[in-house]
């Protein structure tokens, strides 16, 4: 009798436990849906043609757009890619193809550490190296900060991608007498191309929402700006500045910008996922 009761208790506890796990799991999605709901509801109504093509309206006027922030984000991401992608891919190739040396071990650790540095600290570095010597905030310094954040992502994903390429492919090329560097350039890199593109896209997704390192490097600007040596606005910076302002018109613009930024990041992640999946099937 007592034994039976104990079993009932144990089974009840088991049911309770699995129900609680499922409940807590789905509960933790509530914030996500709330965030998406607010971005969607407040954001979509702020987004129209003007939003993409015109400059921010002065305080007190409704309307206006974020064209300068869109251009700024594109320029900053471009600068970051130019600085980070070649080095990142080269280092990724180094780690996957020549990755057994002690230098490679140290580089791997360095990449891990770089990835863990808080982005605001990267901002300090870019300020001390570029903003101070050049005596002014600039998109170049912001792009450099973003490049430092992007670099570890590109290196790690490139390495992981290239490692998945079957060694038979390498050996086949080497057996034909193709030197190692031509094997890398003509066999390994083409085979891993979509993986490397995925790495770059992941890197772009990582940096396109970054705000902290831009606060005292790119700094932000209310004007349309193409010159990388001058302060420049970006979507996340604009969201921060407008969100913390007291003006409802600016809040509306910030919601719109949040919507655009979120959609952009979502697309980037989606593209990366689809490319990774397509690439997997080929081997």
């Amino acid at each position: 009798m007592r034994e039976e009761r104990r079993i009932v208790v144990r089974v009840a506890w088991d049911r309770l436990f699995s129900a609680a796990t499922a409940l807590l799991s789905y509960l933790s999605l509530i914030p996500l849906f709330l965030i998406l709901y607010y971005i969607g509801r407040r954001g979509i109504s702020a987004v129209d043609w003007d939003f993409f093509t015109s400059l921010p309206a002065p305080v007190g006027e409704t309307g206006g757009g974020v064209s300068n922030a869109l251009v700024g984000s594109a320029v900053l991401i471009g600068v970051a890619c130019v600085l980070a992608v070649p080095v990142g891919i080269a280092a990724g190739v180094f780690l996957s193809e020549y990755g057994k040396s002690r230098l490679a071990g140290a580089v791997r650790l360095a990449v891990d550490v770089l990835q863990g540095i808080p982005s605001i600290v990267i901002g300090i570095i870019a300020y001390l190296w570029i903003v101070r010597p050049m005596r002014g905030f600039s998109a170049l310094s912001g792009g450099a900060a973003l490049a430092m954040l992007m670099l570890p992502v590109v290196v790690r994903s490139t390495e992981e991608t290239l490692r998945l390429i079957p060694s038979a492919l390498r050996e086949a090329s080497l057996a034909l007498g193709v030197p190692r560097h031509r094997t890398v350039l003509k066999v390994i890199l083409p085979a891993g191309l979509s993986g490397i593109l995925t790495a770059v896209i992941l890197g772009v997704a990582r940096i396109s929402g970054e705000t902290a390192p831009l606060l005292f490097t790119a700094f932000g600007s209310p004007f349309m700006e193409w010159n990388v040596l001058r302060p420049m606005n970006s979507l996340p910076l604009m969201i921060f500045n407008y969100a913390t302002s007291p003006y409802p018109e600016w809040h509306a613009l910030a919601w719109g910008a949040s919507f655009v930024l979120a959609v952009f990041m979502l697309l980037m992640n989606l593209v990366a996922k689809v490319m990774a999946r397509r690439w997997k099937i080929r081997f």
């Binding site: 540095i117 600290v121 705000t211």
Partner: protein, 302 residues
Amino acid sequence: MWGTGTVRGGAPATSEAVFERLLHISGAGILALLAVVFVTLLVHSFPAVKDLGAAFLYGRVWDPVGGEHGALPFVLGTLFTSFLALGISMPFSLAISIYLGEYCTEGPFSSFLRSAVDLLAGIPSVIYGFWGLFVLVPLVRSLQIKLGAMPYGVGVFTASLVLAIMIVPYSASLGREVIHLVPADQKEAALALGATRAEVVRKVILPYARSGILAGVLLALGRALGETMAVTMVIGNSNVVPQGLFSPANTMAGVIANEFAEATGSVYLSALVEIGLLLFVVGTAVNILGRRVIKRASVEAA
């Protein structure tokens, strides 16, 4: 027939050497980058170290205009918000790990929950801060009015809530992976002995996946310690030692974000850089510790 000379000498061998050298340089460049980051932080925080010494760490007053640079309010603010966020997020991330790693490993619900958690990790922190400012702050304010506390709205509690939401994916995805790796024969052995599923989770899975779960918690902690935007937008930016759960405070990353661009005077700027150095060192330590634990976990699992 194939003389080795054609490989060793001549054009192919040189371009081979150049290629290899280029790759090595880019690898070493990353090492150099990290070294330069560290040295830059050290050098530029030197004036503050010389001027303030250890008082920097235990000084309770941050008043750069008056020449007082005590970083204790920010250190405590960072620790308070990070660990509170970790505490709030733990039940949820553990539940997700167990649910996705054991109860619901495949099927539409599983992939839905997994992509939703991924999505949570992909939202930029400035959007979290923005949302927190306009949705959570009024909620917390009405809670404070009900509790009879000062209705600031912004403060340590709000910041920890936002942080908790942000770090759930980090510990959840790693936890899911290690729980998924627990060998089926161990679980089946326990089930065969008559254990219920909940008992399997508690007595077999959790002990087995312990170090992996810990690594996930450490990664989440590292993320929380360094988070800037979301926190600075909802914590109230008041440069005092946190007075309580609901009071405005500031964090290390927050004070750098607020004051760095306007810092005048070499000691002021240098003190901010020293806070950055501290953040760098603590963040790196937590990060490396986490990766060590992961490595140990994967060795155990193999």
